[in-house]
C-alpha cells in the first residue's frame, strides 16, 4: 500500500524515548510525513524519533504539549502539498488504523475535522475513576464551548489544512484540548467524532496523565 503523502502527522514528544521509535515507525508505514515536536526532552526522545524517520522540530525549552501541537501544526502548514493534519500521541496509545480511517473521512468531504472518541465503541477499557474524570471534562467542555462531544481529551484528531490554519493554541499546558474544541466550535467547522481505541498499556498508564492532573487543567481553564 502506498503511504499517504498529503498528510502530516504531528506528534508532540516529551520524554518518550522508550516507545517513540516504534510509534513513529508504525506511523511511517502508512504516512509518509511525520513530524515530532520534541519539547526539550532529556532522554534523547528526539534522536529516537529521527532515527525512526520523523522530522524532528526541537523546542529549545520545555513549553508544554499545547505549544508543541501548535508548533507541529505550523510546521505541517509550512510544507508544500499538505492537505490534512493529524495529531497523534507519542506514547503508543493510539492506533494508526484509526488515524487512516479518520483521514479517509476528511478526504470524502464528510467533515472538516474528525475527533477521536474512546467512548463510541467498546474497544477501550477505562477505569471507573478515569471515566468519571473524563466525563467531567466532557461536561465542562460541552458547557463552555457549545460543542457536544463524547470525549473531550483525546489526542487523536484529523483536520483539513483550513482548520489547522485557523487554530491558535495559547494554552501551553494541558488545557489545550478544550481550547481546540472551543476554536473548532467558534470557527463553525463541520466536525464528526470517530470511534478510536485507546490502548492503556502499562507504560502509558505509568506515564500518562494522573487523575490529579485534572486539577491543573481546571485551573488553567479558569485563569486563562
Amino acid at each position: 500500500m502506498r503511504a499517504v503523502d498529503d498528510t502530516w502527522v504531528v506528534v508532540p514528544l516529551y520524554n518518550e524515548a522508550a516507545v517513540v521509535g516504534e510509534v513513529v515507525a508504525g506511523l511511517r508505514r502508512s504516512f509518509a510525513h511525520v513530524v515530532c515536536v520534541d519539547d526539550a526532552s532529556r532522554d534523547g526522545s528526539g534522536d529516537a524519533a529521527a532515527r525512526a524517520g520523523a522530522v524532528v522540530v526541537r523546542h529549545p525549552v520545555n513549553l508544554g504539549q499545547g505549544a508543541a501541537l501548535q508548533t507541529g501544526v505550523d510546521w505541517a502548514l509550512s510544507q508544500p502539498g499538505t492537505r490534512f493534519v493529524v495529531t497523534f500521541d507519542a506514547d503508543g496509545q493510539h492506533q494508526v488504523a484509526d488515524a487512516l480511517a479518520m483521514v479517509d473521512r476528511l478526504r470524502s468531504g464528510e467533515a472538516d475535522v474528525v475527533i477521536g472518541s474512546r467512548f463510541l465503541d467498546g474497544r477501550t477499557r477505562v477505569s471507573p475513576l478515569k471515566r468519571a474524570v473524563l466525563r467531567a471534562a466532557v461536561v465542562h467542555t460541552n458547557a463552555t464551548t457549545g460543542v457536544r462531544m463524547t470525549d473531550a481529551h483525546n489526542g487523536l484528531r484529523a483536520m483539513t489544512r483550513e482548520v489547522a490554519a485557523s487554530l491558535d493554541i495559547t494554552q501551553n499546558r494541558m488545557a489545550h484540548a478544550s481550547e481546540i474544541v472551543e476554536q473548532i466550535g467558534r470557527g463553525g467547522w463541520r466536525w464528526v467524532e470517530h470511534p478510536v481505541e485507546v490502548l492503556y498499556t502499562d507504560y502509558s498508564v505509568a506515564k500518562g496523565q494522573s487523575v490529579l492532573n485534572s486539577v491543573n487543567i481546571v485551573t488553567e481553564l479558569i485563569f486563562k
Partner: protein, 180 residues
Amino acid sequence: MLCVSVCSTLGEVSGHDGGVESVLIKVLLMAGIGVVALLFVRGHATARHQAVRRVMVVAFAGLAIASLLFPQTWQSAAELLGVGRGTDLLLYATILVVLGFMVTSYLRTRDLQRQVTVLSRRLALDEAAAAQHQAAQAAQTAQTAAAPVAQVTEVPRTPVVVDEGPVFAALPAPRPGSWA
C-alpha cells in the same frame, strides 16, 4: 487561599464592634477586591497600568514614611473605619496589596510565557527548516556528483548543529515524487 484569608478577615471585622462603622471598612475592602478582580479580567499590562503601578509605589513609600513619623495615624484611621486597632487595618491593607501583587505578576508572567513560546517556536521551526534544506542539498550533491555518501553527510556536522545529525540522515530525498 487568599480568598479564605480575606473572607475570614471580613468576618473578623464584623465581629469587632458591629454598627455603621464596620460596614464602611467592609465596603472599602470589597471595593479593593473588586478592583483587583477587574485587573485580572482586563488582562494585559498596558502603559497606563504601569503608570498606575508607579504612582502606587510612590504613594506606598509616602505612606510608609508617614506611618513612621505619625504612628498614631493608623490607630485613628482604624477607629474612623470601625476597625479595632491600627495594626488590624494595616493587616487588611497588606492583604489587598498582596492580592493585587499576585494578580499583576501573574498577568506579567503569562504575557512573558506567551512571548517565550512564540520566540522558541520560531527558533525551533527555523532550525528544522534549515536542517531540511541542508539535507536536501546534501542529497542533491550526492546524486549529481556521485560523491561518497560518507563524505557528504560530514558537511553539516558543525559543532552548532551536531545533534541535528540524525535529522539529516532521516530526511527523505528532495524530490516530492520520491517520498512514498
